[in-house]
């Protein structure tokens, strides 16, 4: 009797729970081509129309390897976006790839008034007859194809006429070698090539050099991996420059309690700099440099030499103090410089000690003027006059930026003004931090792309969609639409978006609300939502602690994936904070729970600095008093698309970051970039 009652009550409950209203849409998901080219070209004009891919082939005109690499990259793009590979061929409509060495291409470029005249420059035109990329040199053709890739739309290549060239010949990004090198660098290197970097600075501190097996760290990269990465970089049209941190930041040299006799500060708690007065230092260091040169075959090697006295005392010994920091620095640099010069390799250093305001006048004048100086300054500033000061002393200088918005662009503009030789986008994600690029350091990866834009064309505004482009590298986007249903959440709304009286949204009043968010059916990024209010749940902060702990959304529908437009009322500073969850209950009685981790699946509407590969920026706007705010879309892939989802229970953990759901859309297929 009892089991029968239970079954009946379940059936009745299921029958009574009315599903939320939905509206069908043929394109709940629709990816589009990027609106802007990155980097923005120097000269470009566009006209209506596209060159379809039907019957289109690729014609490589020349034997330089860069031209076949260009064809490879173009096909990678068409394959990813549309599932098509363009054959190599000569007749009919073609994408022609060549250089000015080809007289026909040179004449046509002239006729189009697009003749490239600078290294790495290119001309590109697309019309109904075909597409042509003509490089000033083979690398120019390779760079041009990277632009053509971005002209691909769901219907073909956009019609365009472009003449383009880089501002700086050296446009460098920093990458790392560690045990996870392949998983990250195999994606990152093609990505950096796509956005026209020319050089990669490869952090090599913990490479397992054969001359120093006593220093092998299990998390370091093998020598074979270092060699593979050097080749991969070249096959993507870039040059590797190894970075081995020497003098300061040399903890790697003391790994596993080795080389204790080489500590610069014998009284220190932990080692940091080496002792340049100890001759054995060079018996250890020089063979490593020789190996790095052998593996990378670089034109330059970066020897660090920054922040020498930042951690321990330097100098610290009586002999060191007698010599003084400037002499120790100069002697060490000259020793390494001479050695590298003997191997046919130039030297690169950071600027901060050699050109410091404390010792610069005793160091810089004593250094050879062909040392390339990397000036770093990671604060976004209106100007960087120190670039000029170093340049005026006769050194080639490159500006080095990091991830804060405006840093790379402003420094590139200063570099242009002060005659810098190039630019470097640094990344500081830990010596064994490659995988962090997919997690909490994703924003450093995204910063590569804004830097790429400014390093090529400093004067142009940086396209705003660098986050989406970075995400695409890891989860490629296809152009095919996905149909589905938009869910109307209005009946479950617990807070309005507009807070005119301090009683809605997060109860901070009209200057701190989401009234700028457009309502109704809206497309944010690739996803459509029906927006009305917010299903906001309870949190610990005042203003939101009287909200419900959980809300159940009745669906009674199938879905292959579900897109959530969501945020939290407040920030969380708890690492890996599980701020809530969705529990998906199927009609067969089974259920699945998906937790929402702050910074991974969800972020506060005021926390725009957070970046994750697991959610995509959806909407960005401002409050009435100008605070920048935004929402993100997170997509859940249903592991049982054949089952009917009866309901979703949205639950808060009740902590600082109270979750809020603003839009919900059901998808009949899984978008290619869904995690």
């Amino acid at each position: 009797m009892k089991p029968l009652l239970l079954t009946l009550s379940l059936l009745l409950a299921g029958a009574w729970a009315a599903p939320l209203p939905t509206v069908a849409s043929s394109d709940v998901y629709q990816a589009s081509a990027p609106a802007e080219l990155l980097p923005p070209p120097r000269q470009a004009s566009f006209s209506t129309g596209t060159l379809t891919l039907e019957g289109l082939s690729i014609q490589v005109l020349g034997n330089a390897p860069e031209l076949s690499w260009a064809a490879r990259d173009l096909n990678a793009e068409t394959q990813t976006r549309l599932g098509l590979t363009l054959p190599l061929g000569e007749g009919g409509k073609t994408v022609r790839i060549g250089t000015l060495e080809n007289p026909i291409l040179a004449a046509e470029a002239r006729a189009h008034n697009l003749t490239p005249d600078q290294t790495e420059g290119y001309a590109l035109w697309v019309n109904a007859e075909g597409a042509t990329v003509v490089g000033f040199d083979p690398l120019g053709a390779y760079r041009g194809i990277q632009t053509l890739r971005q002209l691909l739309t769901p219907t073909g290549f956009r019609f365009a006429q472009i003449r383009d060239w880089p501002q700086f010949p050296l446009r460098m990004a920093m990458i790392y070698l560690d045990k996870d090198s392949a998983a990250v660098n195999n994606v990152l290197i093609p990505l950096l090539a796509k956005y026209k970097f020319s050089h990669l600075l490869v952090m090599c501190d913990y490479v397992q050099w054969s001359s120093t097996s006593n220093l092998w760290n299990p998390s370091g990269a093998t020598l074979a991996e270092a060699a593979r990465i050097a080749s991969l970089i070249r096959e993507y049209g870039m040059e590797p420059i190894p970075l081995i941190e020497l003098l300061g930041h040399a903890r790697w040299l003391f790994y596993n309690n080795q080389n204790r006799d080489l500590w610069a500060d014998p009284q220190a708690q932990t080692p940091y700099a080496y002792d340049p007065l100890n001759p054995r230092t060079y018996e250890v260091v020089l063979p490593i440099l020789a190996e790095a040169v052998k593996v990378f075959k670089p034109k330059y090697l970066h020897i660090g030499h920054d922040e020498v006295a930042n951690v321990n005392r330097f100098p610290a010994t009586p002999e060191g103090l007698a010599a003084g920091l400037p002499k120790l620095f100069v002697d060490d640099t000259l020793r390494l410089y001479d050695y590298l010069k003997g191997l046919g390799v130039g030297t690169m250093i950071w600027h901060d000690v050699a050109f410091s305001q404390a010792y610069g006048d005793q160091i810089a004048p004593n250094l050879p003027k062909d040392i390339v100086v990397a000036y770093w300054n990671y604060s976004p500033a209106a100007d960087y006059p120190a670039l000029a000061a170093i340049h005026e002393q006769g050194f080639p200088v490159i500006g080095s930026s990091w991830f804060e918005a405006g840093n790379a662009q402003n420094m590139a503009q200063a570099g242009l003004k002060y005659g810098s030789a190039g630019m470097l986008q640094t990344r500081w994600s830990g010596y064994f931090g490659n995988l962090s690029l997919l997690g909490n350091q994703a924003r450093q990866g995204m910063a590569y792309l804004s830097a790429a834009s400014s390093f090529w064309n400093p004067a142009a505004a940086v396209p705003r969609d660098t986050t989406a482009r970075y995400q695409e590298a890891w989860r490629p986007v296809r152009f095919s639409p996905v149909a589905g249903r938009l869910v109307d959440l209005s009946s479950l709304s617990t807070r309005t978006l507009k807070d005119s009286a301090g009683k809605d949204w997060i109860q901070r009043g009209p200057s701190t609300d989401l009234s700028a968010l457009p309502t109704g059916v809206q497309r944010f990024g690739a996803y459509k939502f029906d927006i009305s209010g917010a299903v906001m749940l309870k949190g610990s902060r005042s203003g939101v602690n009287d909200l419900p702990q959980r809300v159940t959304l009745e669906l009674g529908a199938q879905a292959s994936a579900i897109a959530f437009l969501q945020t939290s009322g407040f920030i969380s500073s708890v690492p890996k904070d599980l701020v809530g969850s969705y529990t998906f209950t199927y009609t067969d009685g089974t259920s699945l729970q998906q937790f929402l981790e702050y910074g991974r699946e969800i972020a506060s509407w005021t926390d725009l600095g957070l970046s994750s590969l697991f959610f995509s920026p959806a909407w960005r706007g401002k409050t009435s008093d100008g605070l920048e705010v935004g929402l993100n879309t997170w997509v859940w892939v249903n592991p049982h698309p054949d089952k009917v989802i009866q309901s979703i229970t949205f639950e808060s953990s009740g902590g600082q970051a109270n979750p809020a759901l603003i839009g919900l859309s059901l998808l009949e297929g899984v978008p290619a970039e869904a995690p």
Partner: protein, 413 residues
């Protein structure tokens, strides 16, 4: 028969091992960057073990940037250290992450009554105490008298206010070309500058940020103007205190605000500059407070015996131990009421190092840790730092930067 014999020997063995196991009951405390004072901590450990039979106390010292990770990793592994010494920012951050135990529940009120109230406040958040104050250090002003003389300034009549120091900074730079002063203004430290100048950070209810008033803007603008005119070295704007100390040590900076503990180091790094150095107490502004960096012991969540861990923290920071530590360092101050009143802090020698300690002691009564306890302090402080730098480096006006920070703070307070 065999089973019976085995059981007998098993029980006997256990009984024999039990006292040994108890004697090995491990406890651990962690300090920040105090390896130099191993001669103080090793006997301290021995004294604790003697007074607490059965406890094996381990002392670990870590660099400042490794401490929070040590706590979080310990919690995750189920074996955090029992007492961890950190500064107020670190303790508040971990408390907000739920990684620390409130000490009010673990210690008696009379124990807490032994500490200076202002020190306890620096480690309190939402009515709960998360750190037992240990030592504090306030800063002093050091003048390079050789540079002062070159600039025609009288070392016997040094300025007693921050505006006075700024005025001398200009004179030094104008007359010698050497930088006169290098204030640390490019981070969240400017929140402390506001408070020292008597300007509030939050409203009376502590619910709204108010540091965008015309007075706040004017104070920030003063520093921005001086930087723009190259009165402050760019290296220091970028690299902070490390660069300021480097410049002072190299004889390239006239005035520095510095912890007294750096004077013995200066003596080693540059005897010439050390000999030319004259020290004075940190100027006291309208706020009638000066920043006193304070360290405290916190008890992580997940310790085996919370009460024993809190008792360890209380023992480490009792009158006797705090006074002994201050005497050992010669440059730090206790945070218990009784130890702080010890006559030791008003006596000393004539060399620069002793004078530095005396100079610091003179302002210690006004010393407070001026870190601002707010929810999500890491995110709020980052917003402060980013916007302030944008103003200092010409990306935003002072007003725009402070307005932007206040908006962000008010959406998250």
């Amino acid at each position: 028969m065999k089973r019976g014999r085995l059981l007998f020997w098993g029980i006997t063995g256990l009984l024999l091992l039990l006292p040994a196991a108890l004697a090995q009951r491990p406890m651990e405390f962690v300090t920040t960057n105090l390896q130099t004072f191993a001669d103080f901590f090793k006997p301290l450990v021995e004294r604790y073990q003697k007074a607490n039979a059965g406890v094996m106390l381990k002392w670990t010292d870590l660099p400042q940037n490794a401490i929070q990770q040590k706590v979080l990793a310990g919690i995750a592994a189920g074996s955090p250290p029992d007492a961890v010494q950190m500064n107020s920012d670190q303790i508040l951050e971990l408390a907000q992450q739920g990684a620390l135990l409130p000490l009010n529940d673990l210690l008696e009120a009379k124990t807490l009554g032994l500490y200076q109230k202002s020190s306890l406040e620096a480690f309190s958040y939402e009515g709960k105490l998360y750190g037992l104050p240990d030592y504090a250090s306030t800063r002093i002003v050091a003048f390079n008298t050789d540079i002062l003389k070159k600039a025609g300034l009288d070392p016997a009549n040094t300025p007693k206010t921050i505006p006075g120091i700024l005025e001398w900074a200009k004179i030094i730079k104008d007359k010698t070309g050497i930088y006169g002063f290098a204030p640390l203004i490019s981070g969240a430290d400017f929140l402390k500058t506001f408070q020292e100048a008597g300007l509030p950070i939050l409203d009376a209810k502590r619910q709204k940020a108010v540091f965008n008033s015309p007075a706040h803007v004017a104070l920030l603008q003063q520093y921005i103007d001086l930087r723009k005119k190259d009165y402050f070295p760019e290296d220091v704007m970028r690299r902070g205190f490390t660069a300021a100390y480097e410049l002072y040590t190299a004889g390239r900076l006239g005035i520095i605000i510095i912890g007294p503990q750096f004077m013995p180091r200066l003596e080693k790094d540059s005897a010439t500059v050390w000999k030319a150095t004259l020290v004075a107490p940190h100027p006291v502004g309208a706020g009638q407070v000066v920043q006193a960096s304070t360290f405290a012991y916190a008890v992580p969540k997940g310790v085996r015996d919370p009460k024993a861990a809190a008792a360890l923290a209380a023992w480490l920071t009792n009158d006797e131990n705090q006074l002994a530590f201050s005497k050992r360092t010669q440059t730090t101050f206790p945070t218990t009421i009784k130890a702080a009143a010890d006559p030791y802090f008003h006596s000393g020698g004539n060399d620069v190092n002793a004078q530095a300690r005396l100079a610091a002691a003179k302002t210690m009564r006004l010393g407070r840790d001026l870190s601002v306890p707010v929810p999500n302090s890491a995110a709020l402080n980052k917003s402060f730092k980013d916007n302030l730098e944008a103003a200092i480096f010409g990306q935003k006006t002072a007003k725009q930067a402070l307005d932007d920070i206040v908006k962000f703070w008010n959406a998250n307070l």
